[in-house]
Structures are given as C-alpha cells and as structure tokens.
C-alpha cells in the first residue's frame, strides 16, 4: 500500500457490472497518474457506466465524444492544454478493445504517428461487451460470442487475436506495454512510466469480464492470473525499443486451466485446445519467454 495514492479518482456509484475488471484497471491507472490528469474516453462500457447525466464518476476532467475518435479528441485536448501552458497535465485516453483495435485504430495510429504526448490505455475484454458480447478483432481464437457463436458447424471465433501491442510498437513510440488487472503493481508501474516518457505511450490491459467470458464475478482477478500463468497473456513492456518481460510466472500452466473456467470456451474440443496451446507457445517463444 506504500506509495499508493489514496484518493479515489473514479467515484463509487458507477453502473459497472459487479466484478467489473475495466473499473479496476482505470482506478489503478488513475492512482498512478493522480489529479493532474485529463481523461478522454471512447464510447464503450466504461464511458456508459461512469457518465450517467446528471452524474459523473470522474473526479478529474473527462471528455467523451464518440466511439472511434478518442485519440483524435485527445490530440485536440493535448494541444489545447499546451496552448494554455499546461504541458504537465497527463492526457489519458481510455478505450475498450473494439474502440481501440477495430473502429478506433485509424485515429489511434494517427495520434501515435504524430507523437502526441498521450497515454493510451486499452481495456481489453476481448469483445464488444457494452452492446452484448459481439466479437472484435481482439476476440481470441475459439471464443464463442454473439456474432461468432459456436454452433453445429462452428467452433466460435476462427481468427487469432490481433496483436495490438506490437502494432503500436511498430509506430516506434517510446513506450508500449501489456498489463493485466490481476497484477496491480505491474500495471501502475507501467502507467507511471508511460506518464514519464515524452511522447505517446500505449498500454494494453487484459481485463477479464464476468458477463462476457462467462464466469462468476468474484473470479475476475483469478482469470487474470490464469491468463498470465498459462502464458495466454504475457506481461511485457517495450521501453524505447527494448523489450522486457515484466512478470515471469513461476510455473507455466497448460492453457486448458484458463479455458475450462470460461463459458465462452466450453464448447472447444481437444483439437482446438491444442491449436490454442500452439498459439500460446509460439507467442511465448517469439517474446523469449519460452525456449
């Protein structure tokens, strides 16, 4: 608890589901950044549950315009703050996986390429949860969603998850990281680093979602840990081009341990699970986490 900002910047009373991982991610990120921050939200779960007019959960200045343009809105905010001599204000952009990896990718890429001094935080719950669990390009192979349902001839999502962090790294920005709500200190440390770098930073946070993934709300953190321990989600950072694995699990668990506790993967047979295990192993090797 030492060194953690005790102020709550995301007030209670928000309308997020019980056990919501997105609000955990944002609470932690704001504790890392503090009061001197402006938040820009893309449309999505978080935006909807935190801004029910005439109320707001935000204790810091906050703006939302639309789904796909948060990075562009943030670009305008950042330049306007600079014009007012407020270069020291953090500009935190928050989007879900749909608003980041799909519809918001163009404006995000533009802001990164322009080297806007913003921190982009993607809370990735691996589908469009706000509108009822439709697949996004961040939905993993094998997951059943309402638009990639498992059926008589379908095993659910048939494409692998888009590797967003590496797409951001390819922009040559100073700081890129992955994080998970189950590893709060790692997450907050990365947000702090992101705030310190000059220029854009991107943090992709895996955020288990009880409603969309099909598990009990109490298990949000457990799911995050399982993702990390099975190497389904690898925690790393790319700091000025240098890749560091920030959390190396003591023992690598088989992917089935992660899959079997989620309803969205319930339908998978051995063949698919093996394919997923192969994906995971391959990525672990690419990142140097596995020989």
């Amino acid at each position: 608890m030492k060194g953690i900002d005790e102020k709550e910047y995301l007030a209670s009373g928000h309308r997020a589901c019980a056990g919501c991982g997105a609000t955990i991610a944002v609470r932690l990120a704001l504790k890392a950044l503090g009061q001197n921050t402006v938040a820009v939200s893309a449309t999505g779960c978080l935006e909807v549950v935190t801004s029910p007019y005439p109320e707001t959960s935000w204790e810091i200045p906050w703006i939302h315009v639309a789904f796909e343009n948060a990075s562009a809105v943030a670009s305008g905010v950042e330049e306007a703050l600079k014009a007012q001599g407020k270069e020291d204000v953090n500009v935190l952009v928050i989007g879900g996986d749909g608003g980041t990896t799909d519809i918001g990718l163009q404006s995000l890429s533009g802001a990164m390429e322009r080297q806007q001094n913003i921190i982009y935080l993607c809370y990735d719950n691996e589908a469009y949860m706000n509108t009822g669990i439709q697949r996004s390009s961040s939905t993993p192979f094998g997951a059943s969603t309402t638009t990639s349902p498992a059926g008589k001839v379908s095993f659910g999502e048939d494409k692998p998850k888009k590797n967003m962090a590496m797409i951001m790294a390819a922009h040559g920005i100073p700081y890129v990281a992955t994080a998970c709500v189950s590893h709060p200190y790692d997450l907050m440390e990365k947000v702090k680093k992101a705030a310190e770098v000059k220029g854009p930073a991107y943090i992709h946070v895996l955020q288990p979602c009880a409603t969309g993934w099909g598990y009990a709300p109490k298990d949000t953190i457990k799911l995050g840990k399982l993702a990390v321990d099975t190497y389904a989600w690898i925690l790393y950072e790319i700091d000025h081009g240098k890749l560091n694995i920030t959390v190396k699990p003591k023992e690598k668990l088989p992917i089935i341990e992660y899959l079997k506790v989620q309803k969205r993967f319930k339908h998978l047979d051995e063949k698919h699970i093996e394919a997923i295990q192969n994906f995971v192993d391959q990525q672990s090797k690419e990142l140097g986490l596995m020989e």
Partner: protein, 379 residues
C-alpha cells in the same frame, strides 16, 4: 485596413489568422486545401501562434476540434464535401456538446459520381446537426463572416458551432478585392478568447460528453433549439455591430430590389452576385424582379423572409437536391411561407450558372408548368 486582391480561401485564412485560434486541426481536401495550406504557411512563418494538428482524416479533424474547444481554447477547422460527410458524426457531437467551433466549408458536390466542383449538397446535408450555417456571397463576406461566426458561437447564450459556407472554386479559387481588417480592428470587434462555459482543467474538473438517457435527452436537445432560435437575434446583432465598426452590415437575409417585386428569387451563396446582375437587367426591361439572399440557412430566418417577400411569387433556387422531395431550401420556404412558390434545381456538380439560366427561372416562374424544375439539363 488594407484592400487586397485575394481568393476567398485566402480571405478566410486572413480572417482566421486575426481571430487567433489556439488549435487548428485540419485535413486537406479540394477545394478547401487552399485554406489549410495558407494557415500552415502562417504557422510556419510565425505569423500565427497556433497548434496546427495534421490529423489523419476529417473525422479526426472535427474530433480534435471538439477536444481542443472542450479543453477551453478557440479552434478553427475547414473542410469540404466528402470530408464533411466523413465528419458527419462528430459534427453532430460538436453541436450537442455546445463547443463554439468555427469551421469553413468549401461547398462541393458529394459522390457518386465523384465530382470536385461546386454545389451546396455537402453543407445542406448537415442542416439538422445543430450548427449555425452562414453562406457567403463574396470573398469579402467570407472574411467578415468568419469573424462574426466566432462572436456568434462564443456568445454564452448560444454556444453552438458555426459553419461558414463558401462556394468551392467559384469563391475559393477566384481572386477579387477584399478589405482585410488589421489585427487592431479585429481585436476591437473580436477580443482574444477567454474560456467560457466548459473546459478541461484538473483544478476545476467537469465531465463533457456524458450519457443522457430518456429522462433528459429531450430537454437537452430542446435547450439546443432554444439557443438556435435565439441565435436569430444574435446573428443580427453581431452583423450590426460589425457594420457599425467597419461599414459593412450583415443580417439573416439580404434584400435586393425585392421591396416592390412581383417575382422574388431566393438563393444562397455566390450565385446571388449573378442574380443581382440579372435583376438589374430585368428591371431595365420593366420587370419587377428582386432577390432575397438567405445568408443564415440555420437558423432558418422564417420571420425575416416573411416580411421581405410579402405576397410576391417566389422562385427558390437550390444547389442541392433531397431526392424525391425537391430542393432543401425550397422545402424550407414552402414550410415557412404561404406564397406561390416554385423550386429550381441548378448547378449541381459545378455546372456553370449563367444569366440565361436565371432568366429561364424567372420565365418559368411567370409561366409555371410544374412545382420543381431542373435548370440546364442537357439532352
């Protein structure tokens, strides 16, 4: 004040420079590009101290404009045609969020087929967005209207963005004499920006762009309508204030020899210059013809029009078409007034509009055969 021969694109840029926006997010598109290039020059030469954001699309131009205006500074952007269509969503959001952005739109036809030339379909198609829309007839008016637009939008009782519409090429790429006001003169009319109703300041946090459900959305939109109706007065007041200072008066409409006219043409933008020449000629031939130019399309100047046109027969000229219904301005006029009214669709996609076309419109209004006619169609 100095009088220069410049294009309307340059006139707009000169006005923007003197309005001193802090942030200019802009994306190039023909025929608006001349404006964004000129502003880039000013910034590059240090003549304008603004943050020029080279965004990757018009959608992002408007989004960044909302972010910057929301953060508490004066903002300018410009677009045209496909660009305006692409930013449709944040155009609506800007008005709904009550951020006083000023945008120049170089009027151009919409695809398909793709066509870079002038008509007014692009801005007309944004008429329901909650933006104030002012249409300029000349480069001089474009210059003057940019400055007035800031004053109107930033009025704390209005807080609606303003779109200054200038005909693509016909104005943007045509040079003619424009009186360019000095910085001191502009400052006496439009002072430096001070943040108003909403801003993003960690020392005074507020939330912009919240979710309004069925309990409050209707009231919030109604509040916009009240502001839009009130802007009728503000546009006139600001136009008068400008006239008192600089000698050029502006209102919601301009009346040209319409006082005693039997037939009144109603139109918007640069075409009205040509119409004025035709009106003079018709008058010489003893025909009582006049023009009422709509300068403020939104808010629609219903009452001003009613007073201006009296019982005259009306010929409404549209450079746009709402397929299956007629020209947009025609429909607005029909809804507002009880006069005998005919609609004419003309000049789509930049088809040159000559005095012969205007004479044909007058003739067809004298001897009507149908409610809505397309002028200048080729076999």
């Amino acid at each position: 004040m100095v009088k220069k021969v410049i294009s309307s694109a340059e006139a707009v840029s000169e006005a923007v420079k003197r309005a001193r926006p802090s942030v200019i997010p802009v994306y190039p598109i023909t025929p608006q590009t001349k404006i964004s290039e000129k502003l880039a020059d000013y910034v590059a030469d240090g003549d304008l101290d603004a943050h020029y954001i080279k965004v990757e699309s018009e959608h992002s131009a408007m989004s960044a404009a909302i972010g910057a205006s929301g953060a508490g500074v004066r903002v300018f952007t410009a677009t045209s045609s496909q660009g305006l269509a692409y930013m449709h969503e944040p155009v609506f959001a800007a008005a709904g969020m009550r951020v006083p952005i000023v945008m120049a739109n170089a009027n151009r036809a919409l695809s398909a087929p793709i066509n870079i030339w002038n008509d007014q379909q692009d801005s007309i198609s944004e008429r329901d967005s909650g933006w104030i829309q002012l249409y300029a007839e000349t480069g001089q008016e474009a210059f003057d209207t940019i400055l007035q637009a800031y004053k109107i939008s930033e009025n704390q009782d209005i807080l609606l963005p303003t779109m200054v519409c200038i005909d693509g090429f016909i104005l943007t790429h045509t040079v003619d004499p424009v009186e360019v006001l000095s910085q001191e003169e502009v400052d006496s009319f439009l002072p430096k920006y001070t943040r108003g109703y909403s801003y993003l300041d960690p020392e005074d946090p507020m939330s912009l762009g919240t979710l309004a459900d069925t309990e409050s959305y209707l009231e919030i939109r109604h509040d916009m309508e009240i502001a839009m109706e009130h802007s009728l007065d503000v546009i006139e007041e600001v136009g008068k204030e400008f006239g008192d200072l600089f000698g050029r008066y502006y209102g919601l409409i301009e009346e040209y020899k319409s006082e005693d006219a039997d037939i009144i043409l109603i139109a918007m933008g640069s075409l009205c210059g040509t119409i004025k020449d035709v009106v003079d000629k018709e008058r010489e031939n003893g025909k009582k013809v006049g023009l009422v130019r709509i300068r403020s399309y939104r808010p629609f100047p219903k009452d001003a029009l009613k007073v201006a046109v009296k019982d005259a027969k009306l010929a409404v000229i549209d450079k746009d078409i709402s397929f299956g219904a007629g020209g947009a301005v025609y429909m607005d006029v029909k809804a507002a007034l009880d006069n005998e009214t005919y609609g004419f669709i003309i000049g789509l996609g930049g088809r040159d509009i000559t005095p012969i076309d205007i004479e044909e419109i007058i003739e067809k209004t004298e001897n009507p055969t149908k409610d809505i006619e397309w002028i200048g169609l080729r076999e």
